[in-house]
């Protein structure tokens, strides 16, 4: 009998796939035959179908987000107690083979597309003539293969756990450290200051966009925020795991991302990686909204509101990441007078 959280992931995933497929049928009809202001019964039916597509996609998005959260919770906090030899999510992913990382990658891509659809739908609803209805229909169609593949790989990953022999959780982490130590690559000490400078720029730019409407309306400001965030997020993740995690664990060379999710370390991985996810979604959303605003001038006002809201969330998420990620390092420095390592 699978663990209840595994059952929850499977049920939520199955429902979200069914709903996004049903939404896709309506969205396909809308994309193919939409004729704005046409008086025909067919167009009136399409308007109803557009509404039901949006409703189904909204519920599917909610269920998929819930299943993704449940999947992370299962991998990080529940399954390590079940998979022999696993101390954290690293061991669980090791037991899942290649399917686990693929499932996570596909889930991230799906959440990105569903987030883009949600933004398009919200913008579309601000105008009664629904100028983005076919664009948001295409976004639903794009989400279908991604969500389906993400769910498929998740099921494969969970099936891979059955009958799995013991894993050697920490060897994955320490082999990685050993290989990095012997490689000829530069040591990357520049990355930490670069991440801090990038964070300062993101907070300043996001704050300025949120506080001064003129800055948010300026062409390509949202794109600049997104490009900066796209470079900053992977660097921040690397710095978190390589440099800052030591201060959470209290040991020098345990570069494991999944242990940050463990209760013994305050489950700080959830807000830290959650903050990175918020930065990714909102910076990408701001860039998408900026592009929409240039192509659809009638949406300029709601676009500006969205961009400002997204910029504010980016700035706040970066601050949360800095406080939670670097806070323990500063405390260590104050208490002990030296940095670790």
């Amino acid at each position: 009998m699978p663990h209840p959280i595994v059952l929850a992931v499977v049920v939520l995933d199955s429902l979200s796939v069914l709903l996004i497929l049903a939404a896709g049928l309506d969205a396909l009809a809308v994309v193919l035959s939409w004729a704005p202001a046409s008086p025909t019964a067919r167009q009136v039916r399409l308007e109803r179908r557009a509404e039901s597509a949006a409703l189904r996609a909204r519920v599917a998005t909610f269920l998929f987000l819930a299943s993704t959260l449940a999947f992370v919770l299962a991998v990080a906090s529940v399954l390590p107690g079940i998979v022999p030899g696993a101390m954290c999510g690293t061991g669980v992913l090791q037991a899942m083979g290649g399917d686990g990382p693929q499932a996570f990658a596909l889930r991230m891509a799906s959440v990105g597309v569903l987030g883009a659809w949600h933004l398009l739908d919200r913008l579309d609803r601000t105008r009664p003539e629904a100028p983005l209805i076919t664009v948001s229909g295409r976004a639903i169609l794009l989400a279908i293969p991604l969500v389906t593949m993400a769910v498929w790989r998740t099921l494969d990953a969970l099936r891979g756990l059955e009958g799995q022999g013991p894993v050697d959780c920490c060897s994955v982490v320490y082999d990685g450290v050993r290989n990095a130590g012997t490689s000829a690559e530069p040591d990357g000490t520049w990355l930490l200051p670069a991440v801090l400078v990038g964070a300062a720029i993101l907070v300043a730019l996001g704050g300025a966009m949120a506080a001064v409407p003129r800055v948010a309306r300026r062409p390509f400001t949202a794109q600049a925020l997104a490009i900066l965030a796209a470079g900053w997020i992977p660097a921040a993740a690397v710095v978190l795991v390589r440099d800052l995690s030591s201060y959470h664990y209290g040991v020098l060379a345990h570069h494991c991302p999944w242990c940050l999710f463990a209760g013994r370390h305050g489950a700080v991985g959830y807000p830290l990686f959650g903050a990175l996810a918020v930065v990714a979604l909102d910076a990408g959303g701001a860039a998408l909204a900026g592009t929409i605003g240039r192509r659809f001038p009638q949406l300029a006002r709601p676009v500006a509101d969205r961009v400002r809201g997204a910029a504010l969330r980016v700035a706040l998420a970066v601050l949360v990441f800095l406080v939670l990620g670097a806070g323990p390092a500063l405390l260590w420095r104050i208490r002990n007078g030296v940095w670790m390592g």
Binding site: P36, A37, P39, E47, E129, A130
Partner: protein, 225 residues
Amino acid sequence: MSDTGLVLDRVTVRRSGTTGARPTLDGLSAAFPPGAICAIQGPTGVGKSTLLHVLASLLRPDEGRVLAEGQPVSSWIAAHRDRWRRQVGLGLQVPVFLEGLTVLENVMAPRIPLERDIRAAVEQAHAALEAAGAAHVADRHPSSISGGERQRVGLARALVGAPRYLLLDEPTAHQDDAGVMRVVDAVQAAARRGAVVVVATHDARLSGATDLGWRLDDGRLAEAR
């Protein structure tokens, strides 16, 4: 073009399957301002009900558009049109009711999704029934009341919640002179509070109460006064 009230802007409607025939409504333009009682008159079958359905955005014109406060509501998608239609009180020529409900519940029905407190919907329904002269049948079922009373209950349902746009189709059908006076009082009260009132009728008893009039004939609209 007026940006208050309801405006017909070159509206053409063809009945389905009659592409080559003369349109039911042929390029109609007219403005129905707030605060005035506007009458559409004309013989039976000329398209008065169709015109009211177009004004209420129940039908989308084949050509032209309907503007409400300057906004082209007829070209809006269903979701926005439906929301706008919450401001419309529509009295049908042959009122249709939910027969399992009482008269009061039928009149309350349009307000139930819009009011947070059910008591507000009850009060509004009682007030509308009183204004339409149908308070005495509030607790009866629609199937047990006369044709004239059904017409008054239909009027009450159109009046409930003080709609911005009051569109009435033959509201004096099956009414005696006292009933006609009730209808006149109700529409005059609506006009006084600034509603857009459009009445489709061929009842000469109403003509004295109207402020603006049009005659619909052969698909065309002509000002009657």
